[in-house]
Amino acid sequence: MKRFLAVTLGILTAIGGFVDIGDLVANSETGARFGMRLAWVVVVGVIGICLYAEMSGRVAAVSGRPVFDLVRERLGARVALANLAGSYLVTLLTLSAEIGGVALAIELATSVHYLLWVPIAAFVLWVVLWKVKFEPMERVFGLAGLALVVFVVALIALDPPWAQLGQQVTSPVPPATEDWGTYGFFAVALFAAAMTPYEVFFFSSGGVEEKWTSRDLAISRVNVFVGFPLGGVLSLAVMGCAAVVYEPLQAQVDTLGQTALPVAMALGKLGLVVVILGFFAATFGAALETGLSAGYTVAQYFGWQWGKLVRPRQAARFHTVVLISVLLGVALLLTTADPIAITEYSLVFSAVALPLTYLPILIVANDRDYLGDEVNSPLTNVLGVTYLVIILVAAIAAVPLMILTGMGS
């Protein structure tokens, strides 16, 4: 049991990357409009995040230093400051969207307008960030997020035309109703979602919070190779459910309620209850992840005391950043900005910021001063460089595609 619980950090991290509020809706939207023709992007993303999360977990375990710490050392104070600004903005936007997502999940269960839930959700979130210790927090929300496995069950219960879905998977071209522009835009958004920078910040900082040492390398790897592929499977299941239900209707998906509908169709009331609980856990977990990551990035850039291992008054600057971030997130939502649109924008900005996050990780993972004999193997380096090229292409293409397609509409 203890061994099983050791992977909850990876699961919670992956939930933030693959099935948070933006991804739940974006995966559904992708399934509805493209069937499974973009499924390959999720696979490419899972491999990429596994590769780089493994490196950052290894760096954290061996050197005791989380990723953002090293970004500044390797990029220099000035470039790292630009990176900090970009990463913080993306993380803040996502945090805001997740708080909105928690409120939207409660709206589905109560039919009370989500804006009324926003301040309550944000307050509870802040209390958890303030009071609850890292490990129980990670376990409760990592495990509760697993309720989303209900999408896998629902997909099987819907008994879809598997041959047709399989054919879509192997034909990576846009369907007749879409063009290459929107196809490219959704591909970049899905890839950026899989590789969002706060995943590595959170994962490596979490490793430090759990006091990993070189002896915990195996735990770090199990977290990576269980958590992220699981996140990818959930994300594909959400996509598949939408493909089965909405693609034949030519309906597009832009609300959380629509994302849940296939599960209700296949599994009834109980399934619907489980899926809404899963939405709640996943968005709340992602809100914790992004809330902490906002604090981690700023504190680690400036070298402040950070984290939940010490009393809050000993990390006053860190806790202030977390508190201000939650308040800013709420303020943004109370302008009635749509939480789902917020995540879509944050994904595009995230794609632009990706190279500055992943390049230093690759450099540090080859540095014997930090890692001794645990530096990257040649194969890891070949894969790492290949992914840097992919990341660079996505970063360059993101904004032009956004403008060209009007956010993929």
Binding site: S111, Y246, Q250, Q258, L261, A264, G268, K269
Partner: protein, 143 residues
């Protein structure tokens, strides 16, 4: 610097007040019809699922609220657009009744489910299936 900024601003203003062309009108209609297709499909599926007893009240009303608002926006977009020529007028007259029919049926479905009136809910669901097909045909014609 200041001159070029002024030129950009002027261009933006002109773009805003320039009369709609028939192409723009057509694309407004297309996106409205696409939104209606999505909403009608979602409402109809929700209705069928609810009639089988597979959902609960709060969920149904949240989803139907979203679809109703989306159709209302689609109608507003078409009605508020300036109609540039005869062809556009014909297009509007063809599409607008379908959109209004969708809004009415989604409203009926909500009322039916709220008040446990299975007859009303199931006839609204059937109606949505039918209007959904006509909307889809219209959408294909517009593409």
């Amino acid at each position: 610097m200041l001159i070029s900024l002024g030129a950009v601003l002027l261009a933006l203003v002109l773009l805003g007040v320039w009369p709609t062309t028939s192409g723009q009108f057509r694309s407004t209609v297309e996106s409205s019809v696409q939104d209606a297709v999505s909403s009608v499909g979602t409402a109809r599926t929700t209705g069928q699922t609810a009639l089988r007893g597979n959902t609960f009240g709060a969920y149904e009303s949240t989803v139907l609220d979203d679809t109703r608002k989306s159709v209302a926006t689609a109608i507003t977009d078409v009605v508020e657009s300036e109609v540039p020529d005869q062809d556009s007028r014909r297009l509007r007259d063809e599409v607008l009744p379908l959109l209004q029919e969708s809004a009415r049926l989604i409203g009926d479905l909500g009322t039916g489910l709220d008040s446990d009136d299975r007859g009303l809910a199931s006839s609204a669901t059937d109606g949505l299936a039918e209007v959904g097909e006509r909307l889809t045909a219209a959408l294909e014609g517009l593409r």
